[in-house]
Structure formats: C-alpha cells, structure tokens
Symmetry: C2
Subunit: 256 residues, 2 copies
C-alpha cells in the first residue's frame, strides 16, 4: 500500500533537482532491480506485486531490503514507463568521489556533452558488454539517474562506474603517454589505426561532436569509414559509433 505522500515523493524523483536533494532514484523491472541488489548500490525499498515478492523475497530479505506489496494499479501510478513492470525500487545515489586521475590501465570512455538519455543508457550497456568499467561524463551530459537512462542500461548501471567531472581538467592531468582517442568524421580509419588496450576514448555530443576545448587533448583521431557510395549517409548515431569503436578495440585483443 502506497500513501499519497509516497507517490508524490516517487514522482518528484523524475526531476534531477529532487534526485539531488534526496540522493535517491527509482529503477524498474526485475533484471534491473536484481542487478542493483547484487551490486554496490544500496536498494532502500522495493515495491512489487504479490507474485513477484513471493518469488524474490528470500534473496531480498537476506540483504535487508524493505519489501512493500503494492497492486498493479499502484505500480501504474508510480511508473516512469509506458507499461509498468511488476517491480519498482527506491535506491540511494552513491556519493561520487571527485576523481582527478584516470586509471592508467584499461579503457575508459569519456562522454563530451551526451544529451540524449537513450544514448547514455545504451553507451553504458555497450561499455558493460565490452568490459569497460569506467565512464567519465562532462558536467553538461544528461544525468545518470534520469529514469530513461536508468531503464535503458538494462542493468548495466549496476556494473559500470559513471562519474561527472570537467573533461578538460581531467585530460590535462593525465599521466604521460596516455592515449586519448577521439572519434571524428576525419582522422585515421579505425580498422587500420593503431589501437591500444589502455587509454581514453572520447565520444562527442549528438550534434556538435567533440568540443574544441576537449579536442586539443586528443592524441589519436579516428573515424569509422562509411561504405555508402552515394555519400548521403550523414553519420552514425553516437551510441552506434560507440558500439563499433568498442568492438574494434576489443577485437584487437583477441585476434592480434
């Protein structure tokens, strides 16, 4: 049973202002909620229909999560989706450490003003698939806890660290010889370029690409060649580009 105040509170979390104020966000769906439960995230309370609770209660009670039984009708009143799932969870936003250096080893994605929630969610999912554990977003990028971002990660939000910072600041403090790859419409053909297994891959804004202030830190410009002989294909969407780029970096580790 949900009170009017609870419903109002949950609704308020659709806005970044209130998510920041309360350091909480909502997540919906079995896969996503269970992935968060198994992660470092703190799931405070789970709202679910009876059948769902029966199936999952043991696991959730074992880790001390409050379980609240609600009806389908109540779930439909708190959902941010067009068709509500049988479970919604209230989670704490972890305190983000103010990192000042990028891990020397492994690949890190840096997102320069990614604005579309679906793109950020998809990029997190791609990073997860390709074993990239860290994403750095510019301050102006869409918020990680936006309901559309959370949902479109399909649970990958539980496994990929996403932090917000100033890209120029972090890029000007790199250790020597760290490669900074940037995707452009010109540069070196990604299929022929020298790609290392450590470094930073920058992906730019949906319309403007990589900003001038970030571009100056790029050591290796790469591009995905088009095979469209008409020359009309405008560009790949940034999340599709992320899929191709991450795939190509990882391919090198197993075939070369």
């Amino acid at each position: 049973m949900l009170s009017k105040n609870q419903i109002k509170f949950i609704h308020s979390l659709k806005l970044k202002k209130y998510r920041d104020l309360h350091s909480q966000f909502m997540a919906e769906g079995t896969k996503l909620v269970m992935d968060l439960v198994e992660s470092n995230y703190h799931v405070k309370e789970v709202f679910a229909v009876k059948e769902w609770i029966v199936e999952h209660a043991e696991r959730l009670r074992a880790v001390g999560i409050i379980l609240t039984e609600v009806t389908d009708e109540e779930l439909s009143r708190i959902t941010a989706l067009s068709s509500p799932s049988p479970v919604s969870a209230l989670c704490s936003i972890p305190e983000r450490e103010a990192i000042i250096t990028v891990p020397r080893q492994g690949l890190t994605l840096a997102l320069d003003e990614i604005k579309d929630p679906g793109n950020l969610g998809t990029i997190i999912r791609i990073a997860d698939w390709f074993g990239i554990r860290n994403i750095i977003c510019s301050h102006g990028s869409v918020d990680l806890y936006n309901p559309k971002v959370v949902q479109s990660t399909m649970g990958s939000i539980a496994r990929v660290n996403v932090i917000y910072t100033s890209l120029p600041e972090i890029l000007s403090n790199l250790e020597p010889n760290v490669k900074v790859y940037g995707t452009f419409l010109t540069g070196e053909n990604i299929y022929k370029a020298d790609l290392e297994n450590d470094g930073i891959i920058i992906l730019g804004n949906e319309s403007a690409g990589i900003s001038l202030e970030v571009k100056q830190f790029v050591t290796d410009k790469i591009y995905i060649p088009s095979f469209d002989v008409t020359g009309h294909a405008e560009s790949l969407n940034v999340s599709m580009a992320a899929a191709v780029v991450c795939s190509e970096f990882r391919r090198r580790t197993i075939t070369e």
Copy 2:
C-alpha cells in the same frame, strides 16, 4: 493554411491501417524531407514555415512538389514529434514488388520480427552507413512507415530498400551456396569467423531472437563475444549488434 480535414487526414496516417488505405506517410525535418525529395520516393506535398520555403522553394518547385506555407502553430498540430520541425512532407508509399529471390551479390539484412520502431530505424541507418542496400523484414516486423521508424532513419529510408515478406519462403528459395549468417548467443566468434562479402545476415527479435522456423536456414552461426568478466551483461540490443556485425563484415573488405 491547413484545413481541419487535412489535419485529420495527416493524423490518421499515424496508424498503419490508414497508411495502407491511402498509401501515404508523413516525414518531418529538413534532412529527411530533402533526402526523400532526392530519392525515388514521390513527395506529394510539403508543409513548411515561410523561411523554410524561401530557402528550399527553387529545388522543390523544380521537381514539381506542391508547397504549402503553414505556421509553427499548424506544424505543432500535425507533428508526430515532441518538438516539431519547420517542415513536414506527405509522401507516397511505393508499391512493393513481391520479390522471391535475394540478390546473389552483396550483403542483405533479414529482420526476423523486429518490433521496436527505434530499432528498425537505427538498423536502416546502420545499413545505409555500411552500404547495405537491401533489408528483408518478416511480415510481423514493425511497419517501415511508422512515424518513429521514418524519423529515426535520419534520411536513410530514402536510400535503403526495405521489403516485407515471409522469411522461411525466401530463405528456402535461395540460390545454391548463398551464406546465411545468423546472430546467436553461441556460435562462432564473429572476430574469428569466416565472413564473406555476399550473403544474408539475419537479426532476431528483441526478446526471442531468431525464430525456430528461420533458424533452420542459417548456414553460419555467429556471436559477438562479451568482455564483461562478471558475466552479468545480458546481451547487446539488436541495433547495437547490427552495428557491430555490419562493421565487422565491412572491415574484412578493407583489411584482408
């Protein structure tokens, strides 16, 4: 100036039933409309604000397209988007030829029950970028002229042929030795598999994957390996998989 009846007619085209009845669909935005104008599609009428008409009138009148000046307010009443663009176009749905064979040369995508409009639009855009000119959809796939599909192609709809047919029927009528690649969660690692430049690549439904009746025609099972050591990353979304697969097929043509 738009009449009430025109507005009603345009709205009706959001539904497949009325698009089929009238063989017409709507497209919005400068890039998409101009790509359609330059293609084999027949653009019947363009509704745009004054400034847009001034800029594009010469090109459109040269090919005999009716231009109707409308206000922003009128455009907001006919748009299928959350923020309307300065131009909307009424286009004819071309008669689809009942094809019974797949081109022997080049790559063709076959989509087995792709249901999400954004996924179909994105896959068309990927095909365009990677120079794949033909897509075959199972009858149960989402409609090409669904406004969300049209918009998410970003103009690629003008350059990629999409037809709807029975996949088992077309796959049982292939010429000898045509490769049929299917993406699965098991199979041969795509980065190591033998990939030819001619053949059919089948992509399956968002939840169910490739159906049993289509699977029997697959000659080469391939999969995209995950680099997520936790093993929790569920899968790549079908449009991300399409990006990785098309990229890998095309890479072979330039580096091997």
